[in-house]
Amino acid sequence: MTAPTRVAAREILETADDSLLDLIDNLLNRGVMISGEVVLGLAGVDLIYLRLQAMLCAADRVTSREAP
């Protein structure tokens, strides 16, 4: 994992709003994976996703259309 990726991982989650959290989940955790691809450092993506999970579990951050 490169240092810039680690920095990006920290910054993106520190500043993430609700819609961005779902976007991170969709774009980094889902989607077609093809063989031979160069993915941004896998460890970096793992780091982002682990932190995302922690944030989701720590608080109801995804609040759009949530029950009153």
Binding site: L20, N26, L27, R30, G31, I34, G36, E37, L40, R65
Partner: protein
Amino acid sequence: MSRVYLYALLSGTPACETGVGVCSERLRVVALGDLVAVVGDVGELPAPTALTLRAQDAVLRRLCAAVDAVLPVRFGTLVADDAALAESLAPRRPELARALGRISGCEQMTVRVWGEAPAAAPPPVAVEGGPGTRYLAGRRRAREWIHRVPELEPARRGLADLVREERVERHDRPPLLATVQHLVPRGAVGRYLDAIDGARAGLRPWRVSVTGPWPAYAFVDEAA
């Protein structure tokens, strides 16, 4: 030297202008038999920032508006050139085409189920046989449980006509209990949201949040 950044696989050539990608590069289409890939030529891998993630999502939404079926590709997918792209996809074109058929005309809604504790798992059924049989039966129950969301049952009737496919990811780490992805026909989002809203009282003590519509990010697993 530039490389080819892959955004999506489509069922046909988009009628619209494909626009620019995460690095402000002009996007282009690559015909691969019955598939069409949307790519950009980039000098380096984009970092996963809010800006680049939103830019990639914007590309996919633009494509979804122009084509019936769009298979999103994971962020950060880069190949050497068009020939390498064709080579990577060649053995999987049939399954990718099937995946495109499944998601055609649909979009994704994401439901998160929140609560202090998950619904109780059904009590184990007595299993005849020795310890090995009972062990395997227990494993099967556990495997089935991770694909079930009993907390959503009160909403099922209202959603039945709207949900084409479902993907479940149980977390069981309160307050987040589960993430459920629904594949719904385009144009049905209003009715979907009404069905969820109409079921909220019956869903208590659990709460749900809904986001979407999204491109069908979660429904490419058979092609993954």
